[in-house]
């Protein structure tokens, strides 16, 4: 009886991929040497990814080509490309900028502002969101305030921020903080509201008390939403930072870009823009990477 049971269990469908793979491999190319067959299978399995990659590269090249021709022939069809730098000029400028400590200082300072502002936002907004999600009284007393402040764009805070903080540096960091704070808070709160109550009950049946339920159920259940909030928050943090730097900064990549316009150094405008884009991309990639690391169960 017992043996029959165990046998029956083994017959259950388990992991279709791992079962069918070796069979497929031998059937696909019986004559080819095994190494070559594996490489071929790899190409076959990843042909869609390879296609995506190739298409992406082609589309970027086409973009560069259009940019090149628009600036080469100084196209003027209502939109004016007369003073727009060509890709070659920007690349040449970029190469020089990489050896220029002043340019590096701008980038480093912007990154530092982001790091401090964003970190402060995360450290405050995540626990606050968790507590607001868990305790009705905290939620109902704080939520109205956040709802009133939330629609105000971080840039609108610039004059107020300059009044509030003793130095320019602190006020810019504060703007970045505000930009990322609300997306993180709202997403954390939303995640808390979606926690499956049956999981909470399951943990209670296993002897979990308040602190353990919070740590073992609410927090991990909300983590994917927290990371959504962090990603969105990081994006808004960059938007706010660049705006703040353009308005009130003396350093930073946003200031660099704005100053380039005043100094008629048109290549620097494009360089600053590209630099901002790359930094934004890198910082969200970093958050995604951390997310995958701390949430191994979401990996496919």
């Amino acid at each position: 009886m017992e043996r029959a049971v165990l046998k029956a269990q083994e017959a259950e469908p388990v992991d279709a991929g791992s079962v069918t793979e070796p069979v497929e491999a031998t059937r696909a190319t019986p004559a080819a040497p095994p190494r070559f067959a594996r490489a071929r299978r790899w190409l076959l399995l990843h042909r869609r990814d390879i296609g995506t990659l190739l298409l992406g590269a082609v589309s970027l090249l086409v973009f560069l080509a259009i940019w090149h021709f628009l600036t080469k022939y100084r196209v003027n069809i209502y939109v004016r490309f007369l003073n727009v730098p060509s890709p070659e000029q920007v690349i040449e400028r970029a190469v020089r900028a990489f050896h220029d400590p002043k340019f590096a200082a701008h980038v480093v300072l912007s990154c530092r502002r982001i790091l401090i502002g964003f970190m402060c936002a995360a450290v405050i907004a995540v626990p606050l969101g968790l507590l607001m999600g868990r305790f009705r009284l905290i939620r109902e007393s704080i939520f109205p305030v956040t709802e009133v402040l939330r629609p105000i764009p971080a840039i609108a805070w610039v004059p107020m921020s300059i009044m509030l903080w003793p130095s320019n540096e602190e006020s810019i960091v504060f703007i970045t903080f505000l930009g990322s704070f609300f997306p993180i808070l709202i997403n954390t709160l939303h995640g808390m509201s979606l926690v499956d109550p049956v999981l909470v009950r399951a943990s209670q049946c296993l002897g979990a008390r308040e602190v353990a339920i919070f740590r073992e159920v609410y927090f991990p259940a909300t983590l994917p939403h927290i990371f959504t909030g962090l990603t969105v928050g990081m994006g808004v943090a960059w938007v706010s930072l660049i705006a703040a730097e353009m308005i009130s900064g003396q350093f930073g990549i946003g200031y660099f870009t704005w100053e380039a316009y005043s100094l008629v150094q048109y290549s620097d405008i494009a360089l600053g823009m590209i630099c901002i884009g790359v930094l934004g991309l890198a910082s969200s990639a970093m958050i995604r990477g951390v997310g995958r690391l701390v949430m191994p169960w979401t990996r496919a």
Binding site: V5, A8, Q9, R201, G207
Partner: protein, 290 residues
């Protein structure tokens, strides 16, 4: 009565004169009325009834998730005050923690008890082995089939050594073949561990095949309509489901349940709907008419 050799001494569940009602805009709704049930130590008891009869409500009250409006719920003479690891629960939706591996899920209750890592690991591995899940201990739940998930659910509930195991339609979402295997696994575990089981289901065959005793509930407000002993010997075999004894029990329960299901449905679709089944089509087949 139960075939556990009389060694079980803990896990006496007593529900007495249990009432549950709640308020809505249209006034009070009586979900369960004056229900008294009992699970003796080591006994396997099922509650069966039409949907919405309050059988899950009753189970949740024993688990400690809700308080009765009137009446008492006691386990080993102690009134139930709230959920605890004494009463393990298995849910229909599996309810495994998706962020924990299979072993992490099984270890959870022991972790809450403050057991050290090594002994937790050992206990979890042993139980997973019994359920045929050893090779999946490091998998996350979303990679498992429904049957495997529920085996983990059962093992997780048993890991803390509860006095009573509560199961809320645990195999309702599984296909028929998997369901039969799961029933055998559950019986096997129950006999090895000698604990009391309270099992909620709407499947008559399942209730008879598994239980020592079956309570049949009425449609809302839920009351106990009948209590049926299942004298089939243990260990039970699949073939018993064809025996005349089994079929007689099945017929009896069928008619009890059918009556109640019709009553429950009557409220939803009106009395006329059931008469519709016998409309005279004047010798034409239904396909011709349509």
């Amino acid at each position: 009565m139960s075939n556990t050799g009389g060694t079980a001494t803990k896990g006496l569940v007593e529900v007495e004169h249990f009432d549950l009602s709640y308020e809505t805009l249209d006034g009070g709704v009586e979900a369960v009325r004056d229900v008294s049930i009992r699970v003796n130590p080591g006994e396997f008891v099922s509650i069966i009834g039409p949907s919405g009869c309050g059988k899950s409500t009753l189970l949740n009250a024993v688990a400690g998730f809700l308080k009765p409006t009137a009446g008492t719920v006691r386990v080993d003479r102690e009134p139930v005050e709230g959920p605890s690891a004494d009463r393990g629960m298995v849910f229909q939706q599996y309810s495994l923690f998706p962020w924990k591996t299979v072993r992490g899920n099984v270890e959870f209750g022991l972790k809450m008890k403050g057991r050290d890592k090594h002994s937790r690991e050992l206990a979890a591995r042993t139980l997973l082995g019994l359920a045929g899940l050893s090779q999946f201990e490091n998998h996350y739940p979303d990679r498992l089939s429904g049957g495997m998930k529920q085996r983990v659910g059962i093992v997780r509930a048993l890991a803390t050594g509860p006095k009573v195991l509560l199961l809320d339609e645990p195999f309702g979402a599984l296909d028929a073949q998997t369901r039969v295997i799961m029933q055998q696994i559950l019986t096997n575990m129950w006999q090895r561990l000698k604990i009391s089981v309270l099992f909620v289901t709407h499947d008559i065959d399942e209730a008879i095949f598994l239980s020592d005793r079956v309570y049949c509930m009425t449609a809302r407000p839920g009351t106990i309509k009948a209590e049926i002993m299942v004298p089939l010997e243990r260990p039970r075999q699949q073939a018993m489901m064809m025996s005349s004894e089994f079929l007689a029990l099945r017929r009896g329960l069928m008619s009890l349940i059918r009556e109640e299901s019709l009553k429950a449905m009557g409220g939803e679709i009106g009395d006329g709907a059931l008469q519709g089944l016998s409309i005279d089509l004047h010798g034409q087949s239904l396909a011709d008419v349509i």
